[in-house]
Symmetry: C2
Subunit: 143 residues, 2 copies
DNA sequence: AGGCCAGTCTTGACTCATTCAAGATTAGTG
DNA sequence: CACTAATCTTGAATGAGTCAAGACTGGCCT
């Protein structure tokens, strides 16, 4: 992924190509699962004076356009990633909060057909696995 | 569920039986999926002068003890329910934020065996279905 | 190439759910 | 009944995220 690629991504979804958006796209792509603060810092290594608000705006816009995906496990601040449209899910470490991607064991959208949806029109099933990452798991061994 | 029942629940998990905790337990049981503010209001109908902090503390303690379950869909404040230990999930309305319970279509814990867990020790799979509730779905019909 | 203007960005203040802290109360125990 | 640690009250603080007004600029049109 190079700068021209990101420009093209933006044009493909009819968004203006601005410095902040390019910086944010690149930051999210380079730091998957980064929180907003990290995205701000990473973006500033490309465009030193981007305001935090521009990053927030860009993240919102890019999320709506489907170029980035927002994930927000309970107890964590918002995090972002560029892997979209491939129905993967996340494992979150209860101890340190680190996140990793996982593809669902079943090949199709998991449990999208709930047994009784109470009349809700469901369009997405979000799955979050909770547990301990290898490091934290090793640090607190079962007695 | 009556007052003595809630008292017993608390004793069963070795928690002190206090007025705030009883009020909170009752409030959450009576108002499933209520947010903290609603729990505070409902608790005060039982114990008029409970502080908001006591409610926060109680909710945390009860959650740790497993008597209530905390759910926090992205974009929503924390909500609580007393249905625990039965592996059910939730549908959340994208429009109005209302929540309903759903049991997973597959009879077992959904996708708990991720295809590649990156060494994480997974102990829970949380599923959130996103969509529109009957009311909102009717209010914004497909053209 | 130059100019227009709606969409973006900057700056700075603000919201509000949640947490922190210190001192007063109270539930359970001997 | 008294004791003590757990719990509650009060009041202030935190911080991710939002709002708003004015400045700037990317894309388009001539």
């Amino acid at each position: 992924m190079t700068a021209p690629d990101f420009q093209q991504l933006l044009r493909d979804v009819d968004l203006r190509v601005t410095q902040p958006r390019l910086a944010v796209l690149q930051a999210v792509h380079t730091h998957p699962h980064a929180d907003t603060e990290s995205v701000i810092v990473a973006s500033r290594s490309v465009v030193p004076d981007v305001s935090h608000q521009a990053v927030y705006d860009s993240l919102h816009t890019l999320t709506e356009a489907g170029l980035v995906r927002r994930i927000k496990p309970a107890g964590s601040v918002a995090r972002y990633e560029t892997r979209t449209d491939d129905n993967h899910h996340h494992v979150v470490c209860r101890s340190c909060g680190s996140i990793a991607d996982v593809d669902c064991a079943v090949g199709h959208v998991p449990c999208l057909t709930a047994s009784d949806s109470h009349g809700f029109v469901i369009d997405e099933a979000e799955v979050i696995y909770w547990g301990l990452c290898p490091d934290c798991s090793a640090a607190t061994p079962r007695p």
